[in-house]
Subunit: 664 residues, 2 copies
């Protein structure tokens, strides 16, 4: 970061201690220190360059990914990095790779569903990367409905083996990351069949490729499913297709923590409760929420810095034009996203705690909070990934034309990010799960059963369905309890309205189907309440550092009031607030934007991103955008020659009116 | 379209005459016939294949584009195609190319701003493509604010020439399509300077490259600005950078229809009114609205067909699962987009009429409706492009995981489409222009000046600010006048509320800046009213064909009621309807979805897209998705070898724990 800092003046305006905010954002001083050190390590390593990524052919991009993954592993072992450091290293390499699935899905699947013996056998191999694993669940014809998978695993008592088979084209495994080209093993999900009986879907460890020469084993057809969204982006990943033609694996390779098949072919449940499996799901989704805040904060960092560099209109007497960040429309699109990035960060942090809490309770055989934790993670996964995907694209638009250039970093960020709305549970399907849970909770209210965790507020239904917001002036909208109450009122009223509408149907399932759109909206309302309330909790903690707490309060209020504005129809139609109160909230929101404005650059500096990780000319730390855009342009292959390839065949004859005779 | 039609059953359910609907969609039987014939011509020509587009390197893609453009021109001349046919041919080639700017911007700029003499000289050259032109306005540092451009055109009376110059890096022309590699000429926008005086921005025809060898002329540095969003997509276009170092052009190459520089260097206005230039803008924006309906309808066609093919959950006894199009959440996301595609189609048709009307009035020196027409096209450009961009991505999500594959066609459609939100006027900047016009109209109401055209309803402000919607049961929401009234009430109440808030500011400009976000929302409300009212007008025409009118009524009502639902906050906070009425509207909306459901496939068939143009395996006419996805996968370059490139260097050593010694 040498040279002139074009954003120095912006930075000098900040009214808070940026270094302290970095600690808050990172979660702890320790995490900040580790992640910062590793980020610089990655940024300074030429193998980890990624600026040419969108120009590589598919094959070169994939080879480059293999190289980066190997180099990352080499550095991890050479430097004897801790697990935490290794995580950050992979994170900052910032290129989707088979290792993401190996560490993120294959290992957790074995940990979560394998017996101790199985873990002892397979985990050391995986930890040392002597095998590469992936997670093969989805099929060409089956995704969201896991119970509809077609792949079969039939027990053959004669040989004590499972026969894994793809009976149809639609049963081909399809999508698993790392499957296409890299993995040697997979956890394959298949219908377990013993003695002609179908026991539903279970996981099996299947070796796919020879450890000697990487050739697929007999009976296995495997390959890549082809190009995906964007250039660069997720195309570094070998999402794969897999067909299994009566492939035999030893019985011990069924993941048997929860249910088992005996030597005789008897299907039995172990004494480990099924619910334990949900722990893994909570874990994975918690990482997705953390990733959402990280993707959104990148986009926001780019758009915020560029909005301070970009000037448009309003120059007096030939002076400088206005920075576009000073336009209220720009602020009203950008600042709520900045606030959302912080909001998702803190709700992610809380989810980490929730995961520990759930795990402890599970170990103590206490399953009481599991449905609530499950619904809550499902809902937050849906809410944060949808908002982040939309938010990244909004940030791109906030950069005007230049946001459309690859080297703005935003197109690739978007293309890499959007599938998060689909994988690990389609966002709409997840919302409907949340809605089911909410309907159950509402139904149990009369019985006096106390709702727990994030649904505790539902215990105060009596009050919440009739209360009126006390907000009378704009400043009242800075009051956390005023804010919380309207979010709670809106959420519960929507849930109860759904429950009442449902009760008019004689067939509950039909009712649920018919009203599913309203139900999904009720689920969103519930989830937004969670985000707001966790943000408020965070802000009410002891927060050191000059002005830091104040900034977080501003961000929290922006998140809340913006959400009210965006979903005003919900709030008004449920009578949770009045039109007059809404208008006051809006006035307050505008004033909050003005308060945030001088701190905007510092608030994105607090994310502590290196220019390498950001990967954006528009988002450069030093704000030196134009000369770098200009220089970068000339590197495009099209500029290798002044007269383009194809001129003689296709342009000259056209200009000379000689196309008629040309063979094109 | 040989083989089994997997959607035949869906097609048999249609309750209307699809062929007649095709005529409605196309605008006339003649247009349907021409466009259909040309679409098939393009689809059957191997040179126009586009299925490998996302795999080509930038250079190969560009060369391929040059080839297609030349081939298109060859076919156009060989077959002596009419202007209309030639338009459809370029349309169905469906690959952004320099010719888009040549025909779409360069020619119109000369037609709109050139004198008769200039038109006589330049247009024949352009029509025969003996020169290739582009439109060079935007600069690296200047976009939305055209008045801020830095390029200068200084008149030199000694030589009777203009000296065109880029004084700074930020004055480099940046973005013009076709500029980078293909164009021989450009209309360059520059500040006109005579005798030391700055007369603001004017257009100049500048030759960029030699017509002999295509080399840039002296003083000219020109190149491509590099990769943009997506693979394939808009990367076939050579958006360019241009620096001019005191380049001299004859005085006659300033576009002089409206203002002129005499031989002596005097700056004079011609007797042609300035306003004429707006005609061109109305024209260009009208084509953008038409493009919006065409892009959105493609995405909707893909998502609708695939939603009927895709099955997920709900199988009873191992039977077929439920088609995802039968889920109400799917319908509530998809059908409003289908309705929007039709809505934009008809408002685009109306804009075509408006353009003719404006042109006639201009020719008769009647400028009275120009500001209204200008605001209306600006607003509709903004509204339809934003909704289309979001809609395409929503369609992609509606296809679950498979929507993320390039060969779904949706990623490329999105990446190509999104800049429409930015070029020809950033959508937010445009909304603020509309808002300015609305505020002016409101301010003039007391004077008794009658608002015209799309603002006519504002003349009924008295009634509209106090009326109450008469809707009392769900069916009332099928009544066009009930619908229109709430849209009118909402729009005018938002405008008037803004005007009242503005009046509290002593400085109007400060007030406008402070309230700009509310103002933009008021502009959206006004534009949505236009779309709804033009849809209603359309439906109220005489519409032949069994059941066609009925379907259009359903679509119109879906568009209107969905818009109410989405912007409910506006409607409720302005008191344009009550919560109870909103809930009835919602019930009606659900019922409309059910009515639309059996016709969904036929309604997208009515777009009459060839599989070539659609470019989507998921959207195939025959619905035969899975075998084609499977086959296509194997064509990816990564599948050329079973063991991937890079295995020996980067995977084997890792698996064998031999990375330490490897040089990566
Ligand atoms: C980039 C990427 C990486 C992936 N990685 C892996 C991996 O490593 N391993 C793996 O096994 N899989 C992987 N997947 C697959 C992923 O898990 C599935 O795509 C995901 O579960 C969604 O399922 P689907 O594609 O079947 O969507 P579908 O369920 O077919 O969704 C289509 C539409 O139907 C709707 N819908 C479906 N069911 C319902 C319902 N009951 N009610 C209402 N609406 C419904 C959805 O909302 C959606 O709009 C990956 C996918 C992607 C895109
Ligand atoms: C694919 C593509 C093709 C193009 N083709 C051409 C071409 O052929 N010829 C050509 O000359 N140009 C072309 N352009 C350039 C295009 O016209 C500009 O990008 C467009 O006008 C937007 O201007 P900008 O990039 O300066 O955005 P900016 O104005 O810098 O926008 C940045 C942000 O500032 C906001 N903003 C700006 N002004 C205001 C204001 N007054 N009030 C509130 N907010 C404001 C915007 O809303 C946006 O969020 C092309 C651009 C693209 C992306």
């Amino acid at each position: 970061m040498e040279g002139v800092d074009h954003l120095a003046q912006e930075r000098s305006k900040a009214q808070f201690d940026v270094d302290q905010m970095k600690v808050i954002w990172a979660g702890s001083r320790h995490t900040l220190e580790v992640s910062d050190r590793i980020a610089r390590l990655v940024a300074s390593d030429p193998v980890f360059r990624k600026d040419n990524r969108t120009l590589l052919s598919r094959k070169d991009l994939f080879k480059n990914t293999l190289q980066k993954a190997a180099h990352a592993w080499k550095r991890i072992t050479e430097l004897r990095l801790s697990e935490e450091e290794a995580y950050w290293l992979r994170h900052y390499v910032d290129q989707p790779a088979y290792t993401d699935l190996h560490w993120g899905m294959f290992v957790p699947a074995i940990k979560g569903s394998g017996t101790e013996e199985q873990q002892k056998k397979w985990l050391p191999l995986a930890y040392k990367m002597q095998i590469i694993g992936c997670y093969a669940q989805t099929e060409l014809g089956h995704g969201s409905n896991v119970q509809g998978l077609e792949t079969t695993a039939t027990f053959d008592p004669k040989t004590d083996e499972f026969v894994i088979n793809s009976p149809t084209l639609t049963s081909s495994k399809w999508w698993p990351g790392g499957l296409g080209k890299a993995s040697t093993h997979a956890v394959v999900y298949a219908r377990l069949i013993t003695d002609g009986q179908d026991h539903g879907v279970h996981g099996f460890i299947v070796q796919l490729r020879s450890l000697d020469d990487h050739l697929p084993l007999p009976g296995i057809i495997v390959g890549d499913i082809g190009m995906k969204f964007g250039s660069g982006a997720y195309n570094s990943m070998d999402n794969g297709v897999l067909r299994l033609d009566h492939v035999r694996i030893p019985r011990e390779q069924m993941l048997m923590r929860v249910s088992q098949v005996t030597r005789e072919g008897k299907y039995v449940q172990s004494n480990v409760p099924r619910q334990l499996l949900y722990g893994t799901m909570v874990y994975v989704r918690q990482t997705i929420v953390a990733d959402a805040s990280s993707a959104l904060s990148r986009a926001v960092c780019i758009a915020t810095r560029y909005s301070a560099v970009r000037r448009q209109f309003g120059s007096q007497d030939g002076g400088l034009e206005t920075q576009v960040i000073d336009y209220k429309t720009q602020q009203s699109r950008l600042f709520p996203l900045l606030a959302s990035a912080y909001a998702f960060r803190f709700v992610g942090e809380w989810l980490k705690w929730l995961y520990t809490d759930v795990t402890e309770k599970l170990q103590a055989n206490d399953f009481s909070t599991l449905p609530e934790a499950h619904a809550c993670t499902a809902g937050l996964k849906s809410l944060t990934t949808s908002a982040t995907a939309d938010g990244i694209e909004e940030c791109r638009k906030l950069c005007g034309g230049h946001g459309y250039l690859s080297n703005s970093g935003l197109p690739e960020l978007f293309a890499v990010y959007v599938p998060a709305c689909t994988y690990e549970g389609d966002n709409i399907v997840l919302l409907l799960q949340v809605a089911r849970f909410l309907m159950k909770t509402v139904a149990q209210l009369p019985s006096g059963k106390k709702p727990v965790g994030t649904t505790t507020y539902m215990g105060r239904a009596q009050h919440l369905i009739q209360c009126r917001s006390s907000a009378q002036k704009a400043e009242d909208w800075l009051n956390p309890s005023v804010i919380l109450e309207v979010f709670e009122a809106r959420a519960i009223r929507m849930s109860i309205a759904c429950a009442q509408d449902l009760s008019k149907f004689s067939n509950q399932e039909e009712g649920f189907a018919e009203l599913s759109s309203n139900l999904a909206e009720a689920a969103v309302a519930h989830c937004q309440l969670i985000v707001v309330s966790k943000f408020i909790d965070k802000v009410q903690q002891d927060i050191p550092g000059k002005g830091v707490k104040k900034q977080l309060e501003i961000l929290c209020n922006i998140y809340a009031l913006y959400t009210i504005h965006k979903h005003l129809g919900d709030f008004l139609s449920t009578g949770s607030l009045t039109a007059k109160q809404a208008s006051l909230a809006n006035d307050q929101l505008r004033s909050l934007y003005s308060q945030l404005r001088p701190n905007a650059i510092a608030l994105v500096d607090a994310f502590n991103f290196t220019d390498h990780y950001l990967g954006s000319i528009l988002g450069r730390y030093d704000g030196n955008v134009y000369p770098n855009l200009y220089e970068e342009a000339w590197k495009d292959p099209l500029n290798e020659s002044v007269v383009p390839d194809g001129y003689r065949e296709y342009v000259q004859p056209l200009l000379k009116n000689q196309l008629r005779n040309a063979r094109l």
